[in-house]
């Protein structure tokens, strides 16, 4: 049945009260989100360094940012790809695996779920601090292995410029894979039991049922999880700061830490705002088509 999209509204109060009450939020978001995005965009075309300087310089900040000589930015971008790929991939595999296993009528499921998910309640700073201690080359994992008799064991990723970004991956997966589990478990619980029963009567084995019927039905969950993880990856800042501080040198920088360093510690406001715009464009390239398809689906449903 075709539903009316809006109720009929009568009198001054019904007609204007909702608009009036919504107005502060609307204005806050218009000014302090959208206005600031524009302002930041404007800054990225100016010569601002330590202080804002509204001399128009066109794309020259972007040219500096994307110049092949600007190693630090390119390391950050490369790190984002490494980190994003591994973080999303492994979290997804671990999360899906755990969700499927937990869906097998497991005793103590509640307790296990609580354990898998608690890292999500922690701040990335806490996670970073904890892993920094465990992975530290002097007294952490390495010493433990030595104590256990594996004296040649070396683990110096935290201080090795080639490997430091992978420590961020390790801690990130530890924190977020339980979250993927929770999302997929909720999705699995939403699947109609009778489909599984029908497949079993047809003689399909359990792995086959999962592979052929259940996982394909989880496509929407998969996509929304992917979106969230990608979003976490692009915005990742705290974890790097707490775990490696972006170091050694700038070997574990991500765009978010790069932006912070340029804008607030290095007095390169123009570069900082330009890198923030690059982040925004990246996120938009992923999110806008997704939101669009979501809204369209919502309308057709």
């Amino acid at each position: 049945m075709i539903q009316s999209t809006r109720p009929a509204q009568y009198g001054f109060a019904e007609r204007w009260l909702p608009r009036l009450v919504l107005a502060p939020s609307f204005l806050l978001s218009l000014i302090f989100i959208y206005g600031f995005v524009a302002w930041n965009g404007y800054l990225s075309f100016t010569a601002s360094r330590l202080l804002p300087n509204y001399t128009w310089v066109g794309f020259s900040q972007y040219a500096r940012l994307l110049d092949s000589g600007n190693d630090r930015w390119w390391v950050a971008v490369e790190n984002l790809f490494k980190f994003g790929f591994l973080f999303i991939g492994v979290s997804m595999v671990v999360g899906v695996l755990l969700a499927i296993l937990l869906d097998q009528k497991i005793r103590a499921e509640g307790a296990l779920r609580t354990i898998y998910l608690y890292p999500m309640a922690l701040s990335f700073i806490v996670t970073g601090t904890a892993w920094k201690w465990m992975l530290n080359p002097g007294l952490g994992l390495e010493k433990m292995m030595h104590d256990w008799g594996w004296t040649s064991f070396q683990f110096d990723w935290l201080v090795n410029p080639d490997m430091s970004i992978y420590t961020v991956v390790i801690a990130g997966i530890w924190q977020s894979s339980g979250f993927v589990m929770a999302l997929f478990l909720a999705g699995l619980r939403g699947i109609d039991d009778s489909i599984i029963k029908a497949a079993q009567i047809d003689g399909a084995t359990l792995p086959r049922i999962y592979w052929k019927i259940i996982l394909p039905a989880m496509r929407p969950v998969f996509f929304s999880t992917l979106m969230i993880l990608a979003h976490i990856a692009i915005k990742s800042f705290d974890l790097v700061v707490a775990l490696t501080g972006g170091g050694p040198g700038f070997s574990s920088d991500l765009p978010a830490t790069y932006m912070y360093a340029m804008a607030f510690t290095r007095g390169e406001m123009g570069l900082g705002s330009a890198s923030a715009m690059m982040m925004l464009l990246t996120v938009s390239a992923v999110i806008v088509p997704y939101l669009y398809s979501e809204l369209r689906r919502g309308r057709n449903a």
């Binding site: 999209t5 509204q9 019904e14 007609r15 009260l17 909702p18 009450v21 919504l22 502060p24 939020s25 609307f26 806050l28 978001s29 302090f32 989100i33 206005g35 600031f36 995005v37 930041n40 804002p52 296993l101 296990l112 609580t114 354990i115 898998y116 998910l117 309640a121 922690l122 701040s123 990335f124 700073i125 806490v126 601090t129 904890a130 920094k132 201690w133 465990m134 007294l139 433990m144 530890w174 339980g178 929770a182 999302l183 929304s224 999880t225 969230i228 915005k235 800042f237 705290d238 700061v241 707490a242 932006m259 912070y260 804008a263 890198s275 923030a276 982040m279 925004l280 938009s284 809204l295």
Partner: protein, 284 residues
């Protein structure tokens, strides 16, 4: 059936293996925090503490150095409390009323406002940092708790609105219509009918916002200074202050102190926490 037993065994083995994987860091944090530095150097990550001491805890709380000053985490902790309470309450109440309007009192253009808020959820906050810092300086609330509360409210409205809106869409319009025929208006319907039905989503949103704001680091770092910095900034400063000897036991005690409130909420109201994650996740 032996085959079935074997596969059950493997399932449980994998699940327990992962449980250990998630729990180990917590175990290491806890044991390290009650060891002395000598014991830390003498033993290893997993060795059980021989002489339990809470010296590291008291140092982390009241006297560890977080840069030049050596006041421990206590002032940062109270800063966070002073920040979280108003920020959570304001953003949650605005979300509730916005969600109510966007689901039950739609008007021409309200969908646009909703789309605007939705997209705002995804904007990387880096884009806002510079203009926000300048504006707060100009408004005279830079580096203050008020300024930080303001930023968290502005950036939190989108998700709280989304939570409530999605919940309220599930309340049948007939209920609102019945109340309108009963003579109730905008506010009375909200207070008497809608809000009493909102306890679950209220819990979800309060917990979500509490966790988000308590755990935030970026805004704390950029928009606060000295006397108003939140606990995440304090912890990071504490763990990265270069003193001659690195005191891991103090670091771990501090990390646990910083994590305790959110862990407590997670344990006490895990159901709502998980629901918030999925609700925030599905579209946000």
């Amino acid at each position: 059936m032996p085959k079935n037993n074997l596969s059950r065994f493997i399932v449980y083995a994998v699940l327990i293996y992962f449980a250990v994987y998630y729990l180990l860091p917590l175990y290491v944090m806890l044991t390290t925090s009650v060891k002395s530095m000598d014991e830390i150097r003498g033993g290893n990550l997993l060795s059980f503490p021989m002489h339990i001491t809470f010296a590291a805890w008291s140092k982390a709380w009241s006297s560890a150095c977080t840069g030049v000053e050596c006041t421990g985490l206590a002032p940062f902790f109270w800063n966070s409390v002073r920040l979280v309470v108003p920020a959570v309450l304001i953003s949650t109440s605005m979300g509730a009323i916005n969600g109510y309007i966007l689901s039950k009192w739609r008007f021409p253009g309200s969908e646009l406002v909703f789309a605007m808020l939705m997209y705002g959820l995804y904007i990387p906050f880096q884009v806002l940092l510079l203009p926000m810092a300048m504006t707060e300086g100009w408004m005279g609330i830079a580096s203050s708790t008020t300024g930080l509360v303001f930023v968290h409210v502005v950036c939190g409205i989108a998700s709280t609105t989304l939570f409530f809106r999605n919940f309220y869409v599930g309340i049948p319009d007939e209920l609102i219509n019945a109340a309108r025929l009963d003579g109730a208006g905008f506010w009375r319907i909200f207070w008497r009918i809608v809000l009493p039905m909102s306890i679950p989503i209220l819990m979800v949103t309060l917990i979500w916002q509490f966790t988000q704001i308590w755990n935030d680091f970026l805004f704390g770092l950029v928009f606060s200074a000295g006397g108003s910095q939140p606990i995440t900034v304090g912890l990071n400063n504490l763990a990265n202050t270069s003193t001659t000897v690195k005191e891991y036991n103090v670091d771990m005690a501090a990390a646990i102190i910083a994590a305790l409130p959110t862990i407590f909420v997670y344990v006490a109201a895990g159901k709502y926490f998980v629901r918030g994650l999925s609700a925030g996740a599905v579209k946000g």
